[in-house]
């Protein structure tokens, strides 16, 4: 690869803020407010987590099918460009001109032979290598860059890239372990249930902002406790109830997790667990049941996998929905979600129509997507407006069987890893 400009800081070249006033509570089930509200913590997360030793989801290969195809994307809060090079390989680099810092790529997607910064027309090839600088030698012998100016020192900062079964991940670190090792065997198995090897077909993208800290979204997917209590739609129409066969798996470090569930055959008419769920209406039926219809398309024992991959990816497989949620932090109290929904290249028109109908469940206008977004905003309202008080995640035990669902085990696991990665 000809572009050698990289991110080398990884925490080594930056002055650290004084964080000595931030003290983690002794109780391992307590989470201090400041992890969600403090700007210094947020900045440190960008450096040690998103630009540290992590694989970050950045795109699907189907979004950049041909050489020259590109999309805008993000690692943490840093804008990047993902492009397929002339050789067919995926390149990713910072969306920031090496000259004056211009965020030069301003369209969601497109196709290009090269990238030209509009300000002074510095021109980069599809690997991010600086190819030309106008008036480099000045005009009529006057002006221009100094004689020792080297193009190769001013390329776009390039990221390490890896792919697996149609998804693209990037890292600022040069020497990351493989994605497979990063996930570990159990989570790799979950990942491969989501990306089962069939070629993908992009269905479309939703984007929204949520007032709240980005970690709250990771936690939400590691929190099976809320699923049957907040999401009345699921219980009202029998899609997910406390009696479903359910499993929570995590990697060894507690970074990644998956909540797998198998819904009962037919309609759930009675269940001893539903007595505690005020919203359960055993008689409610959809006027149009096609939305919740489960069309068998894989041999997986699970109908639903809610996968979190640290730090920025939520991958959801629910019945016939396949959906990526790309978390983009935008400050301590705001983040963007990019929902990338796909089907498969061999879908019949009927199957595609079914997926589109079923996608009403999720997204920022979804039957249960709305619940989550609102709940996180409510958490943020509480954290921002009231006096600090640690949150409580004490449900369950850390050594319980994976079938235990009324538990905060996965949230505690995430924070154990978080504290280690952050040095907090």
């Amino acid at each position: 690869m000809s572009n050698t400009c990289r991110f080398i800081e990884n925490g080594e070249t930056r002055a650290e803020s004084d964080l000595s006033d931030l003290v983690w509570p002794n109780d391992p089930a307590a989470i201090p407010d400041w992890v969600y509200t403090d700007r210094r913590v947020y900045d440190l997360e960008q450096e040690r987590i998103f630009r540290g030793r992590t694989w970050n989801y950045i795109a699907l290969e189907v979004e950049v099918p041909n050489p020259g195809d590109f999309i805008r994307s993000y690692i943490g809060d840093m804008p990047i460009v993902v492009v397929r090079g002339q050789d067919g390989a995926i390149n990713a680099f910072e969306n920031r001109c090496a000259h004056r810092g211009v965020e030069f790529c301003k369209t969601y997607r497109g196709s290009a032979k090269q990238f030209v910064c509009p300000y002074h027309q510095w021109t980069y090839d599809l690997t991010g290598k600086l190819k030309s600088v106008p008036f480099r030698r000045g005009v009529q012998g006057q002006g221009g860059m100094p004689p020792d100016f080297k193009l190769e020192d001013h390329s776009l900062r390039r990221l390490s890239v890896t792919t697996r079964r149609g998804a693209i991940f990037a890292s600022c670190a040069d020497d990351m372990e493989s994605l497979e090792d990063y996930l570990g065997p159990d989570m790799l198995d979950q990942y491969d249930t989501m990306f089962d090897g069939r070629p993908l077909k992009l269905l479309g993208i939703h984007r929204n902002v949520i007032p709240g800290n980005w970690k709250l979204y990771q936690e939400n997917l590691k929190d099976p406790y809320h699923a049957t209590l907040l999401h009345t739609y699921l219980t009202t129409f029998g899609l997910f109830v406390a009696g479903n066969k359910t499993l929570i798996v995590a990697d060894e470090k507690g970074r990644h997790s998956s909540l797998c569930s198998r819904r009962p055959e037919g309609r759930l008419e009675s269940d001893s667990n539903t007595s505690q769920i005020g919203s359960f209406h055993a008689t409610m039926k959809l006027a149009d049941p096609r939305v919740l219809e489960l069309i068998k398309e894989s041999d997986s024992p699970w109908n639903s996998n809610a996968i979190t991959i640290w730090p920025n990816l939520i991958a959801i497989r629910q019945s016939n929905i396949f959906s990526i949620r790309h978390i983009v932090p935008m400050g301590p109290d705001e983040f963007m979600l990019i929902w990338v929904n796909f089907g498969f290249a061999d879908d019949t028109p009927e199957m595609e129509a079914h997926r589109l109908r079923q996608n009403n469940i999720f997204g920022p206008g979804g039957f249960i997507g709305i619940d989550d977004n609102e709940a996180i905003k409510f958490v943020n309202d509480g954290l921002q407006r009231s006096q600090p008080r640690p949150g409580v995640v004490s449900l369950g035990r850390d050594d319980e069987p994976p079938e235990t669902v009324i538990t905060d085990r996965a949230i505690r696991g995430m924070y154990r890893h978080y504290r280690e990665a952050m040095g907090l």
């Binding site: 997607r109 939703h206 929204n208 739609y233 009202t236 619940d371």
Partner: protein, 177 residues
């Protein structure tokens, strides 16, 4: 206006005038329809929303970026009265969200065609949202691309495609634009 001279009109001009009057009448009907539609939703009577559609009515709320990139995914999608009713039920009874007012402003209605009892029309919409202890904010602006069934003197939506410019959605969209 005593000096107004009424010229004899040719039959061709007369026909044109009738056509224009008909289109004007259709535009008024669509404007009245949109007023009712907005008022019903803005009063919070979302369970009456399906009544604005035919039994096979289709509703799509879709980002302009998806629409222009030939990506079919809507944010809300109802294919027929059953799905419209299920969406309205979910909003009224199962979704958890902060109480809010919505305010539609629908303008620039244009009649694009009339064929076989189907009126094709478009309009611009702006949707404001007000939550407690927060300033009113712009939730969406976009365009309706509509097909109405004209039955007697009444219109019903056979299809409403809301194509929104406001790609980055603030938190969520609860009530249908």
């Amino acid at each position: 206006m005593s000096n107004l001279q009424v010229k004899p009109v040719t039959s061709e001009t007369e026909k044109l005038m009738y056509d224009r009057a008909f289109l004007r009448e259709l535009r008024h009907m669509v404007e009245d329809f949109n007023c009712d539609y907005a008022d019903t939703l803005d009063r919070g009577e979302v369970e009456k929303w399906p009544d604005f559609f035919t039994d096979d009515g289709v509703y799509r709320l879709i980002a302009r970026d998806n629409a222009e990139s030939n990506l079919p995914l809507p944010l809300m999608y109802c294919d027929g009265k059953g799905m419209l009713k299920d969406r309205a039920y979910a909003i009224a009874h199962t979704e958890m969200f902060a109480p809010r007012y919505t305010m539609h402003q629908i303008a620039q209605v244009r009649i694009l065609g009339f064929e076989d009892g189907i009126v094709s029309a478009q309009a611009n919409y702006v949707l404001y949202e007000t939550l407690i202890d927060e300033p009113t904010h712009l939730l969406q602006c976009g365009k309706y691309h509509d097909r109405f069934l004209l039955r007697g003197d009444r219109l019903l939506l056979k299809e409403r495609n809301c194509i929104y410019d406001t790609l980055l959605i603030p938190t969520c969209i609860v009530f249908p634009p």
